[in-house]
């Protein structure tokens, strides 16, 4: 009452001056971008603390000498470029990532079509089952694979022998060791492609297919001229995301081969671990892990630019 009384004799111009402040705050809170920002804030803090800070710290480390006492600029990178084993790691990482992503995308695309054409009642069960490899913790499932490929007591070899075949050196021969780690990566990663492609397939308007059918288009033509163009953006984003994750893969190679035999299955992450943690040269390890950063960043820019362009064209 006292407040009202107090307000009562305030000049109206003073009230008018205070109102915009209150309205401004309320408006700020009501703005969708502010709410979005506030809701994203926990994620931003986590990303800043667990991704951006370590990445910046890794950049700083990569410019130091072995004992981390002296600035050496790009010395660690130039040293790496002069090493045979490092070039082998670059080559292997590329083979590992490109072949794994290609087959994950292919298998994901085929399986997504198969699941999409299933009757909707049974579809849910298949979707759930096919996602299992992606849901199981990777370290655990890789251990299971390692048992299957065990150098001495491989379950696969036991089956092959039962059918009269001879043992395959899954992990002791460089070719088969590379094959095995790529296979496990495909097994783990294909469900991610499947679920993304399935979502994309479901968003393609049915009318387009109906129109194409009226025009006499066969299944292949419908796939090439309707499905693929409509999925192009999701394919690009999925491939980019998977490429980044696969290039950074550590668990599968570390558990199955630890980079052997003869360093022939090392990828960037396992080689960085070997140099940085096991050999005690953290700056050199940091340099190895950062080596792909510019290449992946440039490819990300091009892929995302294409995605934006296509999105604009569709709009």
């Amino acid at each position: 009452m006292a407040e009202i009384a107090h307000r009562g004799w305030q000049p109206s111009s003073a009230l008018a001056r205070r109102r915009p402040v209150a309205h401004g705050l309320a408006r700020l809170a009501r703005r969708r971008s502010t709410i979005a920002f506030l809701m994203c804030l926990p994620l931003i803090v986590i990303v800043a603390g667990l991704v951006i800070y370590p990445a910046c710290y890794a950049i700083v480390l990569s410019t130091l000498n072995k004992s981390q006492t002296r600035f050496v600029g790009l010395g660690n990178f130039t040293f790496l470029l002069s090493r045979d084993v490092f070039w082998m790691v670059v080559w292997q990482s590329a083979i590992f990532a490109l072949s794994a992503v290609f087959f994950k995308a292919l298998i994901g695309l085929i399986t997504a079509h198969l699941v999409n054409n299933l009757p909707s009642r049974g579809q849910r069960k298949w979707r759930g089952m096919l996602l299992v490899p992606w849901v199981i913790p990777l370290a655990l499932s890789t251990l299971g694979w390692w048992w299957l490929f065990d150098p001495t007591h491989s379950a696969f070899n036991w089956i092959i022998r039962a059918f009269g075949g001879t043992d395959i050196p899954w992990l002791s021969d460089p070719f088969w060791a590379r094959f095995s780690v790529i296979l496990v990566n495909i097994w783990y990663g294909a469900p991610f492609f499947l679920i993304m492609y399935l979502a994309a397939l479901k968003s393609v308007p049915e009318q387009l297919y109906e129109a194409a059918a009226i025009d006499g288009a066969n299944a292949w033509q419908r796939f090439v001229h309707i499905t693929l163009p409509m999925m192009r953006n999701i394919i690009a984003i999925t491939v980019l995301f998977s490429l980044i994750v696969t290039f950074a893969n550590f668990d599968i190679v570390q558990i199955m081969t630890a980079g052997g035999p003869r360093n022939m299955t090392h990828v960037f992450a396992t080689y960085a671990f070997l140099l940085g943690i096991r050999s005690g040269d953290i700056p050199l390890g940091a340099s190895v892990s950062l080596f792909m950063l510019p290449i992946l960043a440039i490819s990300a820019v091009f892929i995302l630019r294409g995605v934006r362009k296509r999105a604009r064209d569709i709009a």
């Binding site: 002791s172 630890a258 003869r262 040269d281 953290i282």
Partner: protein, 450 residues
């Protein structure tokens, strides 16, 4: 007015003297001492072995009124090394941390000098293993105290029955469970040539020896021991690359023959691969601490009853066995350094060491030769005396791959498994010895980087 006898200068003088005395005084275990000490220790694979260490630490803690907390950290997936690296970078964590193989060298700048502790132990127990000294005495300063827990050597662990039946060698007679009964004429016969001949016979009989040729420590250690026996030096202590030598060619030539009678999967074995090989009953011999025998005792008693741990073969330059000691390091950031040093001394006393050795059934091997006489190694069975020759006996000397290069270079040679990759390139990859040596020279140049 009466002036006070307490002057500002006087207070400062006594305060300075008091502070100096507190800093300089050795840690005396007073009954009223208090505080907390945290340890990050290697998680022992022998069930119950951790309990003995905990018991010893608690005994010391109760006596000194210090609360001791131990976290046992597994070495699976190098989690102990990752923890140590994180604590060294963060400057916070446990007071005492156990470090395997080269980790003292890796974290030397973050570790407190422990000369007082180690020198006192040397005074008590006599000479220390040269490998322990090489790994923990950095630039003349001890940065780690060799532990009993987890320290090991990797001699031969062979099947008595298979060697007798297929190679005609009685290993028990050659290496009886009493060093005094070693016959030099017989032990000298056990050289790398006899090892190869017997390995060929065992291979033909369907029971090959299993010598890992991957990039993990079991492989690096036995190849390192063989290189030493042939006089191969990769990098000397003055940074000279010495791998291009006749000794290297001779060792590679020998290894080509030896690897031909090993199972082909040895190139993919991790440190458990050779253990599984022996325990399965397919293998006639491996080079390992008695962990394989202990697992066989549980999982395949018939195999365990025929296992005999004995010295490694002799080469032209001597009989060398791979040793991997562990160490306790005290972080510089520890707030209870004096108490930590006292605890390290306590658990390194003869009585404590004896308890730790017994708890591990003889697996844990102290770095002092004078502590290799515990009854555990005589009484463990089956068969009786099976691990008697696990501690180096007779002319067996300890060694580590990477030595005698300075330890930061040695760490890279060892961890990048340059020796086993050389052998695998030759024997699996079919490369010529000269090409393999050239490759090794380039890799060794890289390890010399400052």
């Amino acid at each position: 007015m009466r002036r006070s006898s307490v002057t500002r200068r006087g207070v400062l003088k006594y305060a300075a003297l008091g502070t100096t005395a507190v800093i300089a005084a050795p840690y005396i275990s007073p009954t009223y001492a208090a505080g907390r000490l945290t340890l990050g220790c290697w998680d022992h694979w022998v069930p119950g072995a951790n309990n003995t260490l905990t018991k010893l630490c608690n005994e010391w803690g109760e006596k000194n009124k210090v609360e001791v907390q131990i976290d046992y950290i597994t070495s699976q997936g190098e989690k102990d090394k990752l923890t140590a690296a994180a604590e060294a970078q963060a400057g916070t964590g446990h007071d005492i941390m156990s470090h395997r193989d080269w980790n003292i060298q890796v974290h030397q700048n973050a570790l407190e000098p422990l000369d007082d502790v180690v020198n006192q132990l040397i005074k008590q127990h006599g000479p220390i293993s040269p490998v322990a000294e090489y790994l923990a005495k950095i630039k003349g300063t001890w940065r780690g105290v060799p532990t009993t827990v987890g320290s090991q050597v990797k001699p031969c662990c062979s099947r008595l029955d298979l060697y007798k039946q297929h190679a005609g060698i009685d290993l028990r007679e050659m290496f009886p469970p009493d060093e005094a009964q070693y016959d030099k004429a017989k032990t000298d016969q056990w050289n790398w040539d006899l090892y190869l001949t017997s390995a060929e016979k065992l291979f033909k009989a369907g029971y090959p020896v299993g010598l890992p040729m991957g990039q993990t420590s079991d492989a690096v250690d036995w190849v390192g021991a063989l290189f030493n026996a042939y006089g191969v030096v990769m990098v000397d202590d003055k940074d000279n690359i010495k791998i291009n030598s006749d000794e290297t060619r001779q060792a590679l030539e020998y290894l080509k023959k030896l690897m031909a009678v090993n199972p082909p999967e040895v190139y993919a074995w991790d440190d458990a691969g050779n253990n599984r090989w022996l325990v399965s009953g397919k293998g006639s011999g491996i080079m390992n601490p008695p962990s394989a025998w202990a697992v066989a005792k549980r999982d395949n008693p018939d195999v365990a009853a025929n296992c005999w741990t004995h010295p490694i073969p002799r080469g032209p330059k001597g009989r060398f066995v791979g040793q991997l000691p562990q160490f306790y390091g005290l972080w510089k950031f520890s707030s209870n350094k004096a108490a930590a040093k006292d605890l390290l001394l306590y658990i390194s006393q003869r009585d404590a060491v004896g308890q730790l050795v017994a708890a591990s059934f003889g697996y844990d091997l102290p770095s002092f030769k004078s502590l290799h006489d515990f009854d555990t190694w005589k009484t463990v069975e089956p068969p009786l005396g099976t691990v008697y020759s696990y501690p180096p006996r007779g002319d067996e000397q300890t060694s580590i791959a990477g030595a005698p290069a300075r330890s930061d270079v040695g760490a890279q040679i060892y961890n990048q498994a340059i020796n086993t990759v050389m052998v695998a390139k030759l024997t699996q990859g079919g490369e010529k010895p000269d090409d393999v040596i050239k490759w090794a020279e380039r890799e060794l140049e890289g390890t010399l980087r400052a």
